[in-house]
């Protein structure tokens, strides 16, 4: 087993962790950030599987575009603001 294999196994384990925690988390914002981390890991995996085209697309679309669009959706649904106000209420 070479170093590259070990690294790939580590990445796959982290992917599993990301997937599970994205499902199990209650906070939508945290879920979205975990989802973007999943995409980053996946793009590294694509690059290691010698698919650089897919790696570029995964990084640009999975992290950039869909992340931004989901952020905007959360903002539109006013999930972020409500959370911030709750925290403010608690601190006061």
């Amino acid at each position: 087993m070479t170093t590259a294999d070990l690294f790939l196994l580590l990445l796959l384990g982290l992917l599993l962790l990301c997937g599970l925690s994205a499902v199990l988390t209650k906070n939508l914002l945290v879920c979205l950030i975990i989802f973007m981390a999943y995409s980053v890991l996946m793009s590294v995996v694509w690059a290691m599987l010698q698919a650089p085209d897919l790696a570029i697309t995964e990084a640009a679309v999975g992290v950039g575009i869909s992340g931004i669009l989901l952020f905007v959706t959360l903002k539109k649904l006013q999930t972020l603001r409500k959370k911030a106000e709750d925290e403010k209420d608690q601190s006061v």
Partner: protein, 298 residues
């Protein structure tokens, strides 16, 4: 209420002594049987829907876990049935792949075999994908362009005050991102990348610019009219170019787009213009999605 047979009812209705709408209304009225329940304002109200919801949420995690286990088991069974990574006897390793790898460079002129396959050999599939993307844009425009009248978050005083860190980061990063996007599009036939990924990078760069500097600087040249024209022209160019290439290819005619010297920036026939068209369309789409989501217009 005394039960009457359907035939009696029909006769009553015919004689206009029975009204159907009244009967419907009476059916929907909650029938309180006298003496069944003493009305008590202090008693906790628990309607039927609430009780059903409670029962549902007790079962919900169990059912979800069960469904998930079955689904994961199915997927794992399918994954273990796949041939090993890079196995020689995999079904994908057939004469088609050998042809693509052996003669792809001379036939398409693309050094990047992936670009040669998706934009030359299998360009019909990519044409369909472009139309799917176009249909998605049209659907989003129908849904979101009408919401311009609503009070948007943009007009609130909070979003006017921009974070200086964000503005500075955007100013530094946006030129680099845009340059990289253009590189990925133009080098689609020479290296990894292509129209879709390059367009997504360009769109992401534009969105970052808008987040840092506001919509105003971009609005001057990227209006709804430009957006429509670019998207439509890109798709029309793609369709016409592919029609031409299918016509020539099917009839063994000489095309005016030569494959050139493989490795040159101006080579590989139609792949570079097609990448450009796809890239421009995807850029506009990504930026348009963000703009429409954010403020209901482009």
């Amino acid at each position: 209420m005394k039960k009457t047979s359907l035939f009696d009812r029909l006769r009553q209705w015919d004689a206009e002594s029975f009204d159907l709408t009244d009967a419907l209304r009476a059916d929907q009225m909650p029938t309180e049987r006298p003496g069944s329940r003493v009305w008590n304002p202090e008693a906790p109200v628990e309607p039927l829907a609430r009780r059903r919801e409670k029962r549902f949420f007790r079962l919900y995690p169990i059912l979800a876990a069960l469904l998930l286990t079955v689904f994961v088991a199915l997927l794992l069974t399918a994954a273990f049935g796949l041939p090993a990574f890079g196995a020689e006897d995999a079904p994908a390793h057939n004469e088609v792949m050998q042809r693509y790898l052996a003669q792809g460079l001379t036939e398409t002129g693309a050094v990047n075999a992936v670009a040669g396959v998706i934009l030359d050999y299998r360009a019909f599939d990519t044409l369909g994908e472009s139309h799917v993307l176009f249909a998605a844009v049209a659907a989003v425009m129908i849904l979101l362009l009408g919401t311009a009248g609503e009070p948007s978050a943009e007009r609130s005083p909070l979003s006017e005050a921009r974070d200086p860190v964000l503005t500075f980061t955007a100013c530094v990063l946006v030129p680099i991102i845009l340059l990289f996007g253009v590189y990925v599009i133009l080098n689609g036939h020479l290296g990894p990348g292509g129209g879709f990924s390059g367009g997504a990078i360009l769109g992401g760069g534009l969105i970052l610019f808008v987040v840092g500097r506001g919509f105003a600087p971009l609005e001057r040249w990227l209006s709804l009219r430009v957006f429509r024209a670019v998207t439509l022209l890109g798709l029309c160019f793609y369709s016409l170019a592919k029609c031409y290439s299918f016509y020539c290819g099917a009839n063994h005619l000489e095309t005016i787009f030569s494959t050139g010297t493989p490795g040159d920036i101006l080579s590989a026939g139609l792949i570079l213009p097609l990448n450009l068209a796809v890239g421009v369309v995807v850029t506009c789409t990504m930026y348009g999605f963000y703009s429409m989501f954010r403020r209901g217009r482009i």
